[in-house]
Symmetry: C2
Subunit: 434 residues, 2 copies
């Protein structure tokens, strides 16, 4: 089997390392030798973390037309050159391995349709949750099930930032800086912290598990960039941890779908996932609850998934599986539950004017929207000191936990709460996973 | 695809239910219809939990010779008739799906060799950890790795009993009775509580992950049948939970191997697995740490795994994978670390005579065997009341945590401690997983 790797960054170098260091192992497990015959890079002068002979490293994408190649491994990321590389490879009769969730989220239809039409295979285990073999679990191991719900911590960078904030009492900015130093976060961390990366992974899982082709615009996506240590600590006082949680849950033929920072009860496995680890909790109608966890990112965990795909192609498994995956369904009968109908409990935090009447005004607004209060915390030392105000009035932090309410009720209440003069920003609202 | 199911007990009925209820689903995921054409049972009169036409249910194993059958699904358990069924099926040109860990542990060489020689495939996802797809994970998803350690809670019944004891403060006997009422434990629970079932599953995983063909006699196996609530509570006071833990851990080319009740630190995922759930923590040289968890037993979780194997055969994946698994290696270079050399910290609990000199005698014995004490708890109310003795001397419970010591040192010390007149039974010793 002869492969070309496009992109020798962190993951690409890791793939090259595994394939060159463990040649005998992969040969034993595939019955064939896997040779890297081309490695395409943008900058030939950049030093690399792998031991490939310079003769096979090139900056010319034309080598992908080499008829000797069976498989193109796309590891450059992004949705422009990567799209060209993948589509060209498929048209040239190659199978493709990719770790690119953005490509599959944005151009999934085109990529998968091209592959199907040309009888080629696209493998994408590494595109979701790095070293956690969740694509294979959904597509193969649990194929006897209808997945009924799928919840996951899918962005290792966000999870690292939240862990640092909570366990080390860091500010959001300090935690982001450390994530950058450790190589978890990009110089511009927006894709991670705004929730886009996790939401893109969720679209790939939803396509696979529910046959639904969606974009990140089709559901509620919020990031971790406005979270404060106070909220993480309040969550802990109330028996929860805050995680950036992706959710796809079937209610009849409606799919509840969102990606946002969420209170998760401490006893739940998802609450205990720290650092850059990912976890998916998957519920199948036969198997019940299952959990899959491992490193969500990083050189070797992601490379491990890429090489698993290469091995699967070498053995011939992937070619049998790919045509059977629900990637291009025209109609599954399942539709997305409108976000206004998503029903949960909520955590609200306000800065409230420390005067009689404030609470009744807030309670009034919530009552008008038929949102009932489950508990309220005010004047509590765990909430930190009051905020002095310019007009000599003091604002105190207040936390409210609601009973079940819909996102629609909350959105309407948000607007009316914003008009209250007795409340100062921030106005924090986080959903609770019970 | 035409299959015969042998055994329509709990799991067999579940398999029939999935295949009959979700015919369209399995057809979509395999591209073929899967038909049950024979179901062999011991007692035709017994009422069954599935909807198979009586015309296909028989008590005659001769139907397995039917040339129309592709696949025989063995779900009767045991190592006698099951062995005949499986070997006959293979010889008749059928592929085999089995959930029988005892068969694979005891007759694995014969079963796997026969299949290989005849070009047939044996699938056994359901034999280990029920609904947790750990066989596929080791054999496929993580095939780019050398597994370096594998630790698991592999017996749902034991885990249920330990959970009931600890969380509900039940005695061992009461917890076993409840496990029997719930259908988790057999009338004779020995295979589960003595650790045999978990150890058999460990041998299957070790064969797959390390290419080592071993029997349960080759390593340390202890059950949960002598555990008391006191020890589980002491573990909690010290920050641990007690679980029946199976371990296979590579040190160079030596494999540390054991299955026994073990203290697991509370923050570790393995410590938090409750009820009949299973979990495997697997460390691969590329992927790092991964965790797989789900129901370890029960009708539908196990049936889910059996049907996943049937689907894999229908698609043709299993036939490609099976010949590449390390099931019959002649030499891997890996050997079992002698149990005397296994090094851990230990929890010791004694009934000690409440007189001066007792502690120094115990410390002396441990010191002679070069075992040093990390901490000691005595006269603590968490340990319960002193035991009155016939000769008016009172015995008080004492707990010692050692520093690292080998099993060999501890075995030698056990003998000398047993001779001390200042100690009365029980003499409890449990390893600590740090």
């Amino acid at each position: 089997m002869k492969i070309a790797i496009v992109g020798l960054g962190t993951v690409g170098s890791g793939v090259a390392q595994i394939l060159t260091t463990h040649k005998a192992r992969t040969a034993a497990r595939t019955g064939t030798n896997i040779d890297i015959v081309h490695a395409v890079v943008r900058d030939l002068k950049k030093p690399r973390d792998c031991d490939l002979p310079s003769s096979i490293v090139t900056d010319d994408l034309a080598v992908l037309n080499d008829p000797a190649i069976d498989t193109v491994v796309e590891l450059i990321g992004g949705t422009t050159i990567a799209r060209d590389v993948v589509l060209t490879a498929l048209k040239n009769g190659k199978n493709v391995v990719t770790a690119n969730k953005a490509l599959l989220c944005v151009h999934g239809d085109e990529v998968f349709r091209t592959a199907r039409e040309l009888g080629r295979t696209v493998c994408f285990e590494a595109a979701v949750a790095g070293g956690v073999p969740i694509i294979e679990a959904v597509g193969q191991s649990l194929a006897s099930n209808q997945v009924t719900s799928l919840e996951g911590i899918l962005n290792g960078t966000c999870n690292f930032i939240l862990t640092e904030m909570f366990l080390k009492e860091k500010t959001y900015n300090d935690a982001v800086r450390l994530a950058q130093e450790k190589g978890y976060a990009e110089a511009d961390p927006t894709m991670d912290v705004a929730g886009t990366d996790a939401a893109q992974k969720l679209t790939v899982l939803v396509r696979l598990a529910f046959g639904l082709r969606i974009s990140t615009d089709d559901f509620l996506v919020k990031g971790i960039d406005s979270l404060t240590l106070t909220d993480l600590q309040q969550a802990a006082h109330l028996g929860y941890r805050v995680k950036l949680l992706c959710t796809a849950k079937l209610h009849g033929d409606k799919l509840e779908l969102h990606c946002q920072p969420t209170f998760i009860r401490r006893e739940q496995p998802l609450a205990d996932v720290d650092d850059a680890y990912n976890m998916i909790e998957l519920h199948g109608d036969a198997v019940g609850k299952t959990w899959f966890s491992g490193m969500g990112a990083g050189q070797m965990p992601t490379a491990s998934a890429v090489v698993a795909d290469i091995i699967s192609l070498a053995v011939g498994r992937a070619q049998l599986t790919f045509p059977r995956l629900t990637l291009l369904e025209e109609s599954t009968g399942i539709t997305i539950l409108p976000k206004e109908e998503i029903q949960r409990r909520f955590y609200l935090r306000f800065s409230a004017l420390d005067k009689p009447g404030t609470l009744s005004r807030i309670a009034n607004v919530l009552g008008e929207h038929k949102i009932s209060i489950s508990s309220l915390i005010q004047h509590d030392e765990t909430l930190g000191p009051p905020t002095p105000s310019t007009d000599d009035e003091s604002y105190v932090p207040m936390v409210i936990i609601t009973h079940l309410a819909t996102e629609g009720q909350m959105l309407a209440a948000d607007k009316d709460l914003a008009k209250l003069k007795c409340l100062a920003p921030p106005h924090v609202r986080l959903p609770i996973r019970d």
